[in-house]
Subunit: 121 residues, 2 copies
């Protein structure tokens, strides 16, 4: 079972917007060069979620972990993404997708942000 | 010089969206109960940035550190926020505002996200 990671973010008209997501992907690849990692976007940037998943499955991936790159917990993480995941599972029987909590729900992220906010510049 | 922290985020129609920001504010207050910490929003949620700053200045704050809670680096962090900061400085001569990089530009945040993405569930 070949695992891949999809970093799923909102997307923006601004091409520079995705830079932090690309940088997280780069660091994951540096940690584990064998791991397939893709960014995918809800709107305005490519690839969208279906295209990213389909490309990974074509490369032989059978398990995909999705990290929602949303700091706020809103409709995109709670509604749009589950819908996209169900559609991907329907297109690819036998491929397992699991979705982690959004980054704004991860205890370690909240702790780090609180620490960085009060760090002396 | 009394320091305050403003966590500045986008805002959403969804009331639950701000929960992670409120949680970061809570953790900062837990670390340092004497520190004034406020969330402020670009749109759709209250208080907005001017209201948050004005309230802090009324409470005697003379230095405000702003942490832009944007993962993507786009127009909100690069254009909207600097405009709001300049307007606040014009309203409050003698009050110093400094803006940290957006959370998506902080090396520690990117490293943590890469680590969490590959952590075994």
């Amino acid at each position: 079972m070949t695992l891949a990671i999809v970093l799923f973010g909102h997307g923006s008209r601004d091409p520079a917007w995705r830079r932090p997501m690309d940088e997280v992907a780069r660091r994951i690849r540096a940690q584990d060069p064998a791991l397939a990692v893709e960014c995918a976007f809800l709107e305005l940037q490519a690839p969208d979620f279906p295209a990213a998943v389909d490309a990974l499955v074509t490369r032989g991936v059978s398990r995909i972990r999705v990290l929602p790159m949303f700091l706020g917990v809103g409709r995109h993480a709670r509604e749009d993404l589950p819908h996209l995941v169900r559609a991907a599972e329907a297109r690819h029987p036998g491929v397992v997708l699991d979705v982690t909590p959004s980054i704004g729900e991860l205890d370690e992220v909240l702790d780090l942000l609180a620490t960085l906010a009060t760090r002396q510049p």
